[in-house]
Symmetry: C2
């Protein structure tokens, strides 16, 4: 049974769709502002607009709203987070890494363009994220230090002490058996760190106080892991047609997953426990945190 | 004949050696502060410490000194610039790009490690540069907006409107003949933009006024091109033993160079003209700009 909370009159799917539209519109605007228009910009736009769930930017905005911040004040951070996420997917898909030809049913960047362009498009999106995060004409001057701390937190989460170290651990673990803490550690770095930075940056720039930001971090850590555990479960029990991708691939590739280490039933219990922890951290907030609450529940109930 | 200026009691080689030591010490300190110590950090350190000339960070410091700024105030920017430069070399050397096995006589990153590690080490250095640039505990709070503008300028210079677009143009021009303005445009983006950002960021954080920063930019644009023209000349007339690499390679690969387009004598005249323009821009400054003056002269007189 999930931690008790009531969400009246709140339609998560409407919320997600509306935020997704706001983020997509903003991403298009920002990418269209690039002065050059050659092949590299085409590749950047191709991958960014290839249809992601926009989970990180939505969480960033929802975190700002939970502390009574305005979504428009964190929109460029939300977009920068999606650029960083997209760059990581482009590079992960490269022949030297996962060598994937398809992502979300579309050719990956190095297939649609070529390998050199894909490497550079990833580099360019990562760089452009920081260019976007430092657009001083959009930044309230009194908040300059907060913006610097957000840039620092995001780069820390994305770099060799975060996402990139997680990807290295993922590569290193191929073909070998991980224990639960090794798997936990890998996911915390590979996906958890950027999810936490998405939520904390929303809370920081939304004007959250230290206690609120701390509660957001607890929420984020739990949600990040729950998201991964559910991904692993869906790879076993999901419907390929609903999921939009094949199932059973983890087992076929001998991947370390929560079900492979602790079994499928314990994985489901663990996902619920994580979501409960996340919801408890939100007890500190009023109904402005309802989107975060609904997202937490959605994460383990989703079918895709 | 070079633009008239006198530099008394100034030993450029001593200056370069002393700054290079300061930068190397600082780079080692910053890289040793990374909390993880796995393969990715080894690859980052390997490439950063593979023995570059440190021209960009030295210019950043010299620009700060020219406006009476303290070197130690721009040292982290100088280091971040070298990280960005190093990341660009790691990715340029990849099999999908220039496919180079050696750089400065040492195995390139993907040879010394592997391709996936080299891609991620480049990504990590780029990300770590921004992490370094936003280390708020090192930043004077009153200067936060200046730091944001420097982050913006560096990301603009390194990204899809600067260095990366230049690399795309370089790849696209292979095997086809460029006109002089096409070559100029490619170099201005590929190397010029980051050199200009190195100098302007030093001037901005050194406390330069708008007029001083403008003069620095003129200096930088001219120096950046002069550096490239001289590189092209050295590829024809250099001594391999002094240069540390083979000559004649541009011609063998049918590369577009200044000598191939305007001839070697006109290239030499053009390099002098560019350095003269750079020196004229420095007339605005007192003898604190002597390092920049000496660097300008050195750039076309160097044998390697």
């Amino acid at each position: 049974m999930l931690h008790n909370f009531k969400i009246s009159n709140f339609d998560l799917h409407l919320y997600l769709a509306s935020k997704r539209k706001q983020i997509n519109d903003s991403l298009i605007d920002i990418l269209n502002d690039i002065s050059s228009s050659g092949r590299i910009v085409k590749a950047m736009k191709y991958s960014v607009m290839a249809g992601g769930k926009r989970i990180r930017p939505i969480m960033c905005i929802a975190a700002a709203e939970a502390v009574d911040g305005k979504p428009e004040n964190v929109l460029i951070v939300a977009c920068a987070l999606e650029m960083i996420h997209t760059y990581s997917l482009i590079h992960d898909d490269l022949p030297a890494m996962d060598n994937d030809d398809l992502r979300r049913g579309k050719p990956t960047c190095h297939i649609a363009f070529d390998e050199a362009t894909a490497i550079l498009a990833g580099d360019a999106l990562l760089t452009f994220a920081f260019q976007t995060l430092s657009s001083i004409e959009l930044i309230n001057k009194e908040n300059a230090l907060r913006w610097l701390s957000v840039i620092h937190e995001i780069s820390l989460a994305a770099g060799c002490e975060g996402m990139i170290e997680g990807q290295m651990k993922d590569i290193a673990s191929e073909g070998s058996l991980l224990a639960l803490d090794g798997l936990q550690d890998m996911h915390s770095l590979k996906t958890g760190a950027l999810i936490e930075a998405s939520i904390s940056s929303g809370a920081i720039l939304g004007g959250g106080n230290p206690k609120q930001i701390e509660k957001h971090r607890i929420y984020a850590k739990n949600i990040g892991l729950a998201f991964q555990v559910t991904d692993d479960i869906l790879n076993i029990e999901g419907e390929p047609a609903v999921l939009g991708k094949a199932v059973g691939t983890d087992k076929a590739h001998n991947k370390n997953t929560y079900p492979s280490i602790i079994g499928i039933e314990k994985s489901k219990e663990y996902a619920k426990e994580l979501v409960n922890n996340a919801l408890q951290a939100l007890d500190y907030f009023d109904n402005k945190a309802n989107p975060l609450r609904a997202i937490a529940r959605y994460i383990i109930e989703r079918k895709r």
